[in-house]
Point group: C2
Chain length 442, copies 2
């Protein structure tokens, strides 16, 4: 095993699940290891406390007259549930079929560590980097980066830069360099429908009260029409239509439907009429249920009317939808669709702005040259369905664009059991870091 | 504490949850204790194995020319979940405010034990009972009595009788003797909606696939219209209209809505237009969700599209609806409402026939006289919303009516946390057993 891979395995073993407070110590330990690593590489590294998980800043010696590049990544990961669906333990990195299998392998530890190893290589070989570099690594990306935005605002001088680079997005196919110039935003919420004061016998009381599970199902069903179009009034008002060149460029990527069907494993695809698979995932907003629960969930039957039921959901948003505006529309919609006999509790969750940059800007072109040198061949120009809300915050607070140079494959299983990252993508990321800094320096 | 109450507490301490296989040993131990108790009282008691939980039969010496009465009860109980909502541990009987608090206190151990103690008293004081008595106690009532019906068919001679008595129903109010001449039937089912092969990142894939939680919500929402009327085609076809005397008799019980609202704790009642609260609960069929689950149910958010979601539900049925016919209609309805991109698995559960007898038959009148002696005042004549499917099986296989002489109060919390049974109802049940056997002997 190479020293680089060994470092990545060490990083992966920390179960740094940011949403679960029982893992707070693990998440902190993960940050601590990164600080040690960056310091040992010769970077001036500082750990910044937040109300939850710390932020890491690391810099080489900044020299006037050079370009300043900020490299962002996150060391926190999604939960590992359902654990019994993993082929190997979620926090024990395993090499199999040329891939590293572990929670965080792709999202984002593998991609973050490729850049760190790239920096280490250049520093070792050249003694310095071709640019002024600032690493900014956080531990709250998977919970919506609640503390990074205020940190940016409070540290404008510390984080001042010309451009930002992130590897936390996808490649359209193995070996195809991919430049992402747009991301969907997000708005999360949770509802609890409360009815009876306690679980009721469904024989004795059934027919006289509204069932909270029925209520929550009716509310959820009101989100879409039968064709999957979101029914929240005003939801599509601010959606910017796709540009002709984008639809054309994406069409040239080939028919994605067979691969989407194969990777997701669904019996058939389902989405908005009039849009291709890529358009549905990259440039159209959604309302997705993420979780639901209520009543008897165990073996056999229990004939109760549950006193409450809950649902967790999130909206993926596209330019120029405003997450806060969308959540207001959603709250109004929820109120209008709450059946009689139910008290509905609405808890709004984290939000993130959608993002769109000009891929033909000078920095955009530099990034594409670096991708071409790394992978050979013209890179694909795409948007992505996922959300990195901090990207819009970088634009708003630091006033600069973010270059998204993803290394994730379509079947990387990010956020799912059996997350994985090809060793060759890890190695490509190390090369990419070198080329990118060189291109941006010019 | 009286010896009778002490016996009841011993019985209550067995966590005889029939639906949870982890409690099989507890359920068996509970049966074993009852066999010992009945044998010690001088009854010839036998334990009959079934594929799951054993059946107990106990008899006094049957003398030709006497009436034969079969007394039915069940020693199994509902699960204790959600355990943290119990004020005292679910399987540690506690005396508070004149009531016994424990899972099974009302349903059915308290009522069963009142009869057993009544028999014990008569046997002790008179040396014999006024009738030929057969006790038939099972451990599978809460899972639909799968093995009792074949047991009846295989043991017609052993169980031959003139009439059956059961205390497993409710009283309209404390101190008001209540004779139940009708019960709702039941038909249970469970569905699993499967979509993707694994949980998916809702950003990367959202918009391109049908979300299984959305699918299950849309299916559930299709069960009712907004006014709560069941939408399964054919569902109401066989429903027998209420007789005028019944509507009149129930109206004379007074307006039940305030009590229903108080006991259930709902912000407002909800049910079929054109029917009173009692009519909705006693004589109208329902479709009730009992449980639902899918995706991320823990703290915080996890932005996934779950690979599957499930729902458990049950239909309460009234004469002359046929459970098997209803389940056929439901399966057809489910198939018609399964969205594209979803494989729906339907698992049909247990069923039980609705029941209706003539309360003015000679045995019905004898039962009402016993209730009058026990409580004073004319007993209420009611139907009930719950199901005791075996009652119709008794009629079909043994050819006799069942007298339902309930001792449960409206706020007994059967099937819910903090189930309870008043000590005075336990004592009334002991008296009722004495009067009932005397009246039925004549």
């Amino acid at each position: 095993m190479t020293p680089e891979l060994n470092d990545l395995f060490t990083l992966l073993r920390f179960p740094s699940i940011s949403t679960e407070s029982s893992h707070n110590a693990d998440t902190r330990a993960c940050a601590g290891w990164l600080v040690q690593k960056l310091t040992a590489m010769g970077l001036a590294t500082t750990l910044h406390e937040t109300p939850r998980h710390p932020i890491i800043v690391a810099k080489n010696k900044h020299v006037p007259g050079r370009r300043t590049v900020l490299l962002y990544g996150h060391y926190d990961v999604q939960p590992d549930a359902p654990v019994n669906e993993w082929r190997t333990p979620p926090f024990e990195p395993t090499l199999r079929d040329g891939r590293i299998w572990c929670r965080g392998a792709t999202d984002n530890k593998g991609q973050l560590m490729a850049h760190v190893c790239g920096l280490e290589k250049t520093l070792r070989e050249q003694g310095d980097l071709p640019v002024n570099l600032t690493c900014l690594f956080e531990g709250e990306e998977e919970i919506g980066s609640p503390n990074l935005k205020p940190f940016l605002a409070a540290n404008r001088e510390l984080l001042k830069c010309d451009v930002i680079a992130i590897s936390d997005t996808g490649m359209v196919a193995p070996g195809v360099g991919t430049f992402t110039y747009g991301l969907r935003g997000i708005a999360c919420a949770e509802i609890i429908a409360r009815g009876p004061a306690t679980d009721l016998h469904s024989g004795i009381w059934g027919g006289a009260v509204m069932n909270p599970i029925t209520a929550i199902a009716r509310i959820i069903a009101s989100f879409h029409d039968a064709s999957g179009h979101v029914q929240v009034p005003g939801f599509y008002d601010a959606v910017k239509p796709l540009a002709d060149w984008e639809r054309e460029a994406w069409k040239n990527l080939g028919d994605s439907e067979p691969e989407t069907k194969a990777v997701t494993g669904v019996p058939e695809l389902f989405g908005e009429a009039g849009f291709t698979d890529l358009e549905r995932r990259w440039a159209r907003p959604t309302a997705e249920l993420n979780g639901i629960g209520g009543g008897w969930q165990q073996e056999g039957s229990k004939t109760v009317i549950a006193r409450e039921a809950f649902a967790k959901f999130s909206f993926r948003l596209v330019p120029d939808q405003q997450p806060d505006e969308i959540l207001k529309q959603v709250e109004k919609h929820l109120k209008a669709h709450t059946p009689p006999g139910i008290r509905l509790e609405v808890e709004l969750g984290h939000t993130g702005m959608p993002y769109l940059m000009d891929p033909f800007s000078p920095f955009g072109q530099a990034a594409q040259r670096a991708l071409e040198k790394t992978f050979g061949g013209k890179p694909a120009l795409i948007r992505e369905g996922g959300s990195i809300p901090i990207v819009q915050a970088f634009k708003d607070v630091l006033g600069v664009d973010t270059l998204l140079l993803g290394l994730a494959l379509p079947d990387c299983q990010a956020h799912a059991p059996n997350e994985n990252f090809p060793v060759e993508n890890f190695e490509a990321g190390i090369r990419l870091n070198e080329y990118l800094l060189r291109e941006l320096a010019q």
